[in-house]
Amino acid sequence: MKNILLCGVGGQGTVLASKILARSAMERGELVHTAETIGMAQRGGSVVSHVRIGEGCYSPLISRGQADVVLAFEAAEAVRNLPYLKEGGTVIVSTTAVKPVTDALSKTDYDGQVMLDYLARQNVRLIVVDGDALVEKCGSAKVLNIALLGAAARADVIGMTVEDIRHIIETTLAPKFQAMNLKALELGAASV
């Protein structure tokens, strides 16, 4: 059984990334269960997708301390969801820091580096991906999810290879989005 928790902020493409993971697992003939944030909480809120691959999953959600991997598109969201991670599990996190709307009203600033420093001090296998630089190179913040999947695949922690993801991008995404996503995939994989 493999438990992968994806997290980020509404609009970062967590759902698509979890769909790709699920599809790839199904193509390998595995059972898959996923669950994600839907509804009001999506609007600017924290979002998570729980992806569970293999036999023996009853609950749709991963419980605390059971995730093999936390794949975070945003630094603070990685920290927020860290309790789900297994002892010695892997965190793949983008340097991206999405300020909450409430930040504009508050006196204090949210600083993503504080989150990354915290993660570095924990007993986890930490892979930091410079998401800001990556999306800059790809020309769109929308492909951060694919870049992180690329990094995770190259790090060999999600049970799928970079090739598997490429195959899914090529067979499921609309042609006009393919080039950009494939580029993000390569750059993400190369960053590990």
């Binding site: 902020v9 769909k19 699920a22 599809r23 697992a25 199904m26 595995e30 059972l31 898959v32 269960h33 996923t34 669950a35 994600e36 839907i38 509804g39 009001m40 909480a41 999506q42 609007r43 600017g44 809120g45 924290s46 023996g56 999953c57 009853y58 609950s59 749709p60 959600l61 419980s63 605390r64 301390g65 059971q66 603070a76 920290v79 927020r80 860290l82 309790p83 991670l85 297994k86 002892e87 300020k99 909450p100 709307v101 409430t102 930040d103 504009a104 009203l105 600033d109 949210y110 504080v114 989150m115 915290y118 001090r121 924990q122 007993n123 913040a141």
Partner: protein, 606 residues
Amino acid sequence: MKTRFVMGNEAIALGAIAAGVQVVTGYPGTPSTEVLENVVKHNPKKEDGTDAIYVEWSVNEKTAMEVGAGAAYAGARVMVTMKQVGLNVASDPLMSLAYVGVKGGMVILVADDPGPISSQTEQDTRTFAMFSKLPVFDPASPEEAYQMTKDAFELSEKYRTPVLLRPTTRVCHGYASMEIPEGRYEYTPEGFVKDPKWVIFPRLSYAAHKRIEEQNRTMTAELSAYAGNTYKKGSGRKAIAAGGVSYAYTMEALALLGIDIPLLKIGTPFPFPNELAEELLNEADEVLVLEELDPVIERALVHLVGKKHLPVDIRGKEDGTAPSAGENSVDGILSILASYLGIDLPAGCVREETPALPVRPPVLCAGCPHRASFYAVKQAMKGRKAVFCGDIGCYTLGNAMPLDMTDTCLCMGAGITVAQGIGRVEPDTVCFSFTGDSTFYHTGLPNLVNAVYNDAHMVAMILDNSTTAMTGHQPNPNTGKTAMGEVAEKIDIEGALRGIGITHIATVDPLDLEAAIAAVWSAADQPGASAIIFRSPCIALFRPTKMYHVDSDACIGCRKCLRELGCPGLVKDGGKKVKIDTSLCYSCGLCTYVCPTGAIRVKEDK
């Protein structure tokens, strides 16, 4: 047989299609919405190429229930979909329909929302089932939801009674890879056959009441043998009873702990499978009940124990062993189990305390026209005594700082009537209601008739964004489209308002802030009920054509734009000044009105 990756709600839709459903009606509401949408998506074709299933988004749940009832009278298999609070709206037809009964199988899909995650209440449709004396199925997983949908149709047709199917959010929105058989139950509805039984009358109702009670007693025995209700023996005399997704959590928790104790699964909480439950009660000293919302299984077991004089302790919500409100989880169940069984949980990893995390409450999207609507009313009413009665939809988010423009929110359509009530007590207050276009047709309209008829002084703001945005953009009477994608007569809101006798009606684009404020001023001073339609599409319906930016030389860093609007597109630039996050800004232009120096402007290139 095909392996598909489906959402619980899609599994229910596929189950209904396989069971031969011919008419599906409903009103959107999280977490139920995708059921009806997936019937549209997977609608099989008849030989002549037309859709085999008639599907509609009805104007409200009562309407949906009644259209469904008529179709079931005529012998079709019918599904009606809604969320739990929607059943309150539909309860009038439902209570009587339980007495009258149906001919074609009728499954009423009502999704519950423990937490609640996106609902007003934590009401329990299983309790509603007992109240209306109707059978209810409670699936524990998307896979079981598929099977139970088919079983519910069978039970409904066998007993000629509507049957409730109540998944909860985690089942509705969970995805599973599952094998879905091909094929669909085929039949031709007999059509409506005239008979006095379709007319509810006191004398008939007495007989029907008797019949229902007898029937439910019969079902109790039948359901004890149903595959969705199971009793798995285990070691020891401490047992568990669980239902719905809590059963799945329990299975997971037991697997994590590696223990095997007697476990009763309840898939039909009403009529309760008494015989099956008695098997467990005869072999246990204590039963821990794990369920969400009301203690339905727990009370049924307490009842049985009392009736049969059994020496068994029933533990659960009523004695505080399990939490009385909120969602269950594997983690929560693990700690309940630890104290119930007197065992230690495996130590989790201990980590350093986390730094303060950013709070991310849901907010109106950047460029959402509702922000402009609220801001216009707020500006116009500055210094005047006014109250803002909100309603259900994305615009409930108008309650958030800095807008702070939702003083009340009760239930669908109630903004309009609560405003009237406040006005009866505080005649010097200008009472506003805020209602979206879908909510307006749901229950807003009769409430406005009440305002006109009883001469209430109020201003009804209709926020017309041409969609039902909160639940994922379903069409409604105002959009000129039906659930099946056909073009429909667009029911003009202004015409409806005029038709019920409102004379002062203004239609304004709220993004034209000055005109919007002027319209509010003029409406506030009208006698009786007046209305303003703030018409501007939801940002999901179009792409922006221009781009705004902050001229940092002109920006004086007063942050008035941030403080007053709370738009996600406006962010601090690192220093005192403000910049626009171009990946979020939707170019509504509202902030240009707010900036005192005119620093926010259209960017020339793009």
